[in-house]
Subunit: 716 residues, 2 copies
């Protein structure tokens, strides 16, 4: 493999980094608080099972271990080199590693791409060197990694502590977040299989790790912190596959490396980014979370408890307030707090000694004896009426927790047998870690019920996701791909030109090739032609500006609707011309189109965009002036399956208007679905599309189809 | 005061409960884990500065203290009695307290209103007894209270621990939440002045406590957990006044005492409740929070740091990820992360030893020495370019925190001098409590930056709130109140009838009395009359069903728009009649109205509702079929001030359509404002209005006013 880059390197090469038999720390130091000192100490202190060698240009020994000046001087093979020297020396050192036949580099040193063009050049050189010698790189500018496997026990990072061994794996674009989550995890009975910070990701990125963890039996749940997507297509393809085997949860940080400030001075960009990320995660089967704590809490739950079979939850508590808050949050998160059946109420009633109101959430009140709480919890866990049980307990005098904990331990096998999650919250108590039952199972405790519910809701989302139908990309027979391509070709071959808008007549023809219906339209370039076109189409008509530069026609007074006579058509043409003259835009007017007025139906919007990070995405939502206003747009990656199209429609608010809203007729939802899929096919055939807006497209009552009223397309 | 109830009891009477010189625990017990034991122990253990007497029917001594059988037997005066006997004995005991001239009762015992009618009766009797003897009651069914004042040091609750002394005061409708927050607070350097759980609130409720804390110097911030509003009008009047002096933060639990299950089986009810609560809190100047942690965190910040002067924040961090996440959250919360000025960048540049990108958030990266972090933090705190500084620090090796803490302590006076908040997050670290600087000031630490930002955003909301103009309720000259009342009188005097819908012709006249313009309308009851009315008004017209039972006209095919000829008007009348016949609703048709078609303008919605818990509220948002669909409605309590009306318009999304959206003309926003205020006046004059929908009302371009197209009103 040397001297040649494998396009997708064998994932086993990562073993040389994550499971090395020998490690050299290049830049190891005796000077306290330097990274070179911290890392060498981390490895020694945390009981690495292999051999570690300090390499130091200045010290003969590091932490009482004999050091060498160069890795070359080490007697024996080295699997992994951890590099902590200044950026300017990294390349030289990396070459020495190559010569020593090292298989993996962890480059902690910063001062590369993150600092600008000069650093980026150094990073490229580093990468080339590594490829030449067949070395994989983690970093540069990273925290390193930790592998808790007792056979390895390697903390190759500047985070001194080793996390507890557990079944969460964490990949982070921020080393600081690795340190933070590791620290936070110590409050819980949940640990990690491995933690990696990949810094600038010159080589190893999230896709590699997903593939590594896919078949890593010690990993049950994957956590990601991402700020950007390097190779989205590969990423979501791999993630899609892996996510069906184990849950992947991700927190997306908003700043792009390129433009930290820009991202925050421009809300619009943020919003778009949000929709695109949602689309990407949706396609990849990744569960998006909104905070660091939600990331950890949700993964913790999934690493210790089974994936719930449904969203029916039962809440049992000795405190009304926390029970109410849990129920509020459950409803907000889309979980179901279903009323107890009569039989269940009777069974519970037999166990409650004092008179209380029995309903879900079950509030046994502050005076409840532990025995009663436990008996009722058991009944709920054994009941087939729920998929998960949440125990919320407020120890009246800071005592009594141990009884409840003992019970949780006894009840857990019952829950497991039924494939149910059980979760506990000892409200306000951050000192309890969760009840470990065996190697694979523990009952997580959450200091607050809101956190417990959020985590459970994510587990339910995962359950929904893996049971979701995958759908198919249908093939439409009446599509003339070749004719369509021929129409667009002239605008894409001339690469010297900037992106070009497709004239509306050609766009109409293109739509025809794809079996997409447009409202009947004629072009006119004078008042007289406009009148003739109006006569031909039949009144009423809409008259709209044609221009290759002005794309928001209504904003310049370029749209006149509901023109009822040929005389009015002439007036309309002149009015549009006049409006442009007033704005000194006359030269931009190529003419007008005269279009049949479609007065009934509902206006919808469909859009396509070639996003720099996610590729082609499609948007769907309410149309006309409401598109931006009501912010009711669903975004998905292209191509779409039939299920995707159906889901997109279902996720909008405008859906209600299509399904017999307030006495309105049922609209042709199948036609909308088909239109989305036809557009999907078109974009697949013509990847040169940068941007397309179909707005409005009118959906007509059931069986009557959809009609495009206005569209624009930009290609390059 | 004996034997007579003071309508608003002197707030000083609460001192007899919160600051008693002597306390009797009635139901004190030696039996471990009983509430009677816990409470007596709490008082003794936590060093109450007054005298406490155990009263026990069965034990001669309680915890080595001689007990008496009845409070009557105590030799000396008793200010406060804490009652822990079974519900059935409470009344008898309370009477004895009255005879003993006790001034306050804390009734811990449950088994009252919360269990149904029988318990409710007992509760009323208890209340009457207390009024007869001039006693105030906290409870029944409550946890009791805690006063941390070192002169009192009274823990009269079954929560064993005493919280740290601090400047937060907490009133909760859930005792469990008191226990939980108290426990959680121990993780922080923030304490409470007093904590009360009021249980069933038979006497003392949140309004009393607000009035008590209003002038309590040891209370700086007020926390509320509420599930229902007992007397909303008094509550918001008091809260309004108090909130201008000290921040009030509230978490609202969703379940009403009456219908726990109903609230959760009916999403609609929840949603409405949410809007009404928002309106109530807005009027009361209360900051609504969304979780228990947000409640505590935000109050903690406000109890230790000044109210920020604005929303410009600077973030300094040694970890890129946490900085990014903080910036994301800040943007989501509406805070401004403003770019550093050139001068500021230069000043920071001089302090950073290694090359880094200097922008806000300022990421000094993991390798930054403490001295550099500190120097940069100082520059940010001294800069006039921000209103708050957030320090986010990830100790690279779990060390170094003490340096940063020392610096925080030194920098705090600088920040205070400038009226700035400083906040720190040692990410993932739940073990650090926050830096106390002096009695009044501490710098709070948050385990995660998201929490820090949320708390700060609430502090900024408070700052905005107190600086908000109060506005005035304008008086309109051209309103004929008397004529209006005369019109509605016939529908409200006959109380034997159910609520009645006001016929549209009378409603039109009422609007005229209030200077509210309606589209020109004529009533017709036959095809011929319809044609004549159409002729009179001039085409095009809208023809709409008149019925006193059918209020959603379009759903029964009762609305035909854009009728262009008299012949078409006849067809329209017959069509509406036909539609009703098909639905067997012919008898419900009283006729039609013929109305001038207003084809331009934007459709808006205004609604009024007499809410059982909040009184009259007004809703405003997008109109027509979009009202429900886009969920873009703002709700406020009536009456409105001019500022309220302005804010309501400003908070909707439809606002964008009114202010020159996509080439559309500016709409007459002043007319909308005036219409809202006229409606407000109308509801004030006619409080019998139960419900009113004005939908749609059309706003026309600037200077052209608003026109009501359709309305309905229910009175009783």
């Amino acid at each position: 493999m040397k001297k040649k880059k494998d396009p997708i390197p064998d994932i086993k090469t990562l073993n040389r980094i994550l499971r090395p038999e020998s490690v050299a720390v290049i830049g190891a130091s005796n000077r306290k608080d330097t990274l070179g000192n911290l890392i060498f100490r981390s490895i020694i202190r945390n009981g690495y099972k292999g051999k570690v060698y300090p390499v130091s240009a200045t010290s003969g020994t590091v932490m009482s271990v004999k050091a060498v000046k160069s890795i070359i001087d080490i007697d024996g093979t080295i699997d992994l080199a951890i590099i902590v020297v200044p950026a300017t020396s990294v390349l030289k050192v990396a070459r020495e590693c190559g010569k020593k036949d090292v298989k993996g580099l962890v480059v902690i040193s910063d001062g590369f791409k993150e600092l600008g063009p000069e650093g980026a050049e150094m990073e490229i050189a580093l990468r080339e060197t590594a490829i030449n010698y067949g070395m994989r790189i983690l970093g540069p500018n990273c925290m390193g990694f930790i592998n808790t496997d007792p056979d390895i026990s390697l903390n190759a990072s500047f985070c001194m502590a080793l996390p507890d061994r557990g079944r969460m794996a964490f990949f982070s674009q921020s080393g600081a977040l690795c340190v933070s989550l590791l620290k936070y995890s110590k409050n819980f009975n949940a640990g990690f299989s491995s933690i990696l910070s990949a810094g600038n990701r010159s080589d190893i990125g999230p896709s590699d790790l997903l593939r590594y963890w896919e078949n890593d039996d010690s990993t049950k749940v994957i956590l990601l912190y991402l700020e950007s997507f390097d190779n989205p297509e590969e990423f979501y393809r791999v993630a899609k596959r892996v996510s069906l085997k184990k849950p992947i949860l991700a927190l997306k940080g908003g700043i792009t490396e390129a433009g930290a400030k820009a991202a925050f001075s421009h809300t619009g960009a943020m919003a778009t980014d949000r929709a695109i990320t949602d689309a990407l995660f949706h396609r990849a089967g990744i569960l998006r979370v909104e905070s660091v704590q939600e990331l950890f809490h949700s993964a913790m739950l999934l690493s210790g408890q089974p994936v719930p079979k449904g969203k029916r939850i039962a809440i049992i508590t000795n405190g009304g307030g926390p029970g109410t808050i849990a129920a509020d949050e459950a409803e907000a998160q889309g979980l179901n707090i279903e009323p107890f059946s009569k039989g269940l109420v009777e069974r519970l009633n037999k166990k409650t000694l004092r008179p209380i109101n029995i309903h879900n959430p079950l509030d046994l009140t502050a005076g409840t004896p532990d025995t009663e709480f436990v008996a009722c919890a058991r009944i709920l866990i054994e009941s087939p009426e729920n998929d998960a049980v949440i125990l919320i307990y407020v120890p009246p005098a800071g005592e009594g927790v141990s009884h409840i904990e003992a019970v949780i331990e006894r009840l857990e096998p019952e829950a497991k047998k039924r494939g149910k999650s059980i979760i506990a919250s000892f409200v306000g108590d951050t000192g309890l870690k969760g009840k470990r039952v065996n190697n694979d199972t523990f009952v997580p405790y959450f200091p607050f019920p809101e956190d417990a519910i959020k985590a459970l809701a994510n587990a339910v989302r995962y359950s929904d996701m893996i049971s979701r139908e995958q759908g198919v990309i249908p093939e439409f027979k009446n599509i003339d791909t070749e004719a369509g391509k021929r129409l667009i070709n002239p605008f894409t071959v001339d690469t010297s030109n900037k992106p070009q808008w497709i004239p509306s007549d050609i766009l109409n023809s293109l739509f025809t090739c794809y079996g997409i219906l447009c409202a009947e339209t004629l072009f006119a370039n004078s008042p007289e032609e406009t009148a003739r076109a109006t006569h031909k189409i039949g009144t009423p008509v809409a008259i709209k500006l044609v221009s290759s530069t002005i794309t928001h026609k209504s904003e310049v007074g370029g749209v006149i609707l509901d023109v009822k006579t040929e005389e009015d058509a002439i007036i309309a043409f002149n009015a549009i011309r006049g409006n442009l003259e007033k704005k000194c835009l006359s030269v931009e007017m190529r003419g007008v189109i005269v279009q049949r007025m479609i007065t009934h139906g509902i206006e919808l919007f469909m859009g396509v965009k070639n996003d720099k990070s996610a590729g082609h995405v499609i948007m769907f939502g309410a149309g006309g002036i409401y598109t931006e206003l009501i912010n009711d747009t669903v975004t998905r990656l292209l191509p779409l399956t039939d299920i995707d199209a159906e889901e997109m429609i279902g996720e909008t608010r405008v859906k209600r208007m299509l399904t017999g809203y307030r006495g309105m007729p049922l609209m042709d939802i199948n036609a909308i679905k088909e239109l989305l899929l036809r557009i999907s096919q078109m974009v697949k055939d013509i990847p040169e599309i940068i941007e397309m807006d179909i707005n409005p497209v009118k959906v007509l009552p059931e069986g009557k189809g959809c009609l495009v009223l206005d569209a624009r397309m930009l290609v390059e």
